[in-house]
Assembly symmetry: C2
Homo-oligomer: 149 residues x 2
């Protein structure tokens, strides 16, 4: 149990590092990692501005990379760690991937999938509110404050 909690913190920290990379590139700072067998198999950060692509959210890029790595579109044995609650698009993608476990840090009270429909996620996906919610949330709010300031 103690080990499992430690692991969640470790992996969310890695997702936060990805979010920091997004921040450095002027992107909304959200990061994600996909874990299989206690190993990171994909890392990604939001790149919607750089790629001029509204689909290039951290979760989407991480899903695509993980599917590519594993040679399957199903991620039933994987966990996705993401710094911000997935939006409807990303939750829809996680549904199709039949993701095993979703761990997200900060809630997104405006665009999070739970606002749209909490049942969007696959019924087999275990959803956990992960560590570092405050840090991950501050990254995003500070980013938007900076834009307005």
């Amino acid at each position: 149990m103690g080990l499992s909690i430690h692991s969640d913190e470790h992996f969310m920290k890695e997702a936060l590092k990805q979010a920091m990379m997004a921040k450095e590139e002027g992107e909304i700072p959200v990061g994600a990692v996909v874990v299989a067998d206690n190993r990171i198999i994909a890392r990604a950060y939001n790149q919607t501005e750089r790629l001029n692509d509204p689909t290039a959210h951290a979760e989407m890029l991480a899903l695509t990379a993980a599917g590519n790595y594993l040679g399957t579109k199903y991620l039933s044995d994987c966990s996705l760690y993401v710094t911000l609650e997935p939006c409807g698009m990303c939750a829809g993608a996680l549904y199709w991937a039949q993701l095993g476990k979703l761990i997200y840090a900060a809630a997104d009270e405006k665009r999070g999938y739970t606002v749209i429909n909490p049942a969007m996620i696959h019924p087999k996906t275990k959803v956990i509110r992960g560590p570092y919610a405050e840090e991950a949330g501050l990254l995003v709010t500070d980013f938007f404050k900076g834009l307005r300031g």
Copy 2:
């Protein structure tokens, strides 16, 4: 008015051609085109199997291609023609793109976004039930019958 109706049929026929290409490759037969200034700027069909990527729906690939072509992630002046009602993932992506007009042929009563939450689409997006609903729907139901048969 007559011209506009003609155009919808023309563009949906092009989306159906894309769906046929998906069918030939053993993919769930869904196709999409993006139109700007009465011209097709992106064409795509579902490639989830080939790419081992649950995000590779026709709409997603078409959005990415259109954003790339226009050099913007916003498709407010574009219309997307798709043979099947978008799922939650795709509707979420269309939201972020602030799509101008969505025209879909067949309804998807199981996984369509209107089942999840009809308000997922951006409030500025005009939604139209387009032509060829029967043809587009039969393509998909015949595909699944073939899988089971």
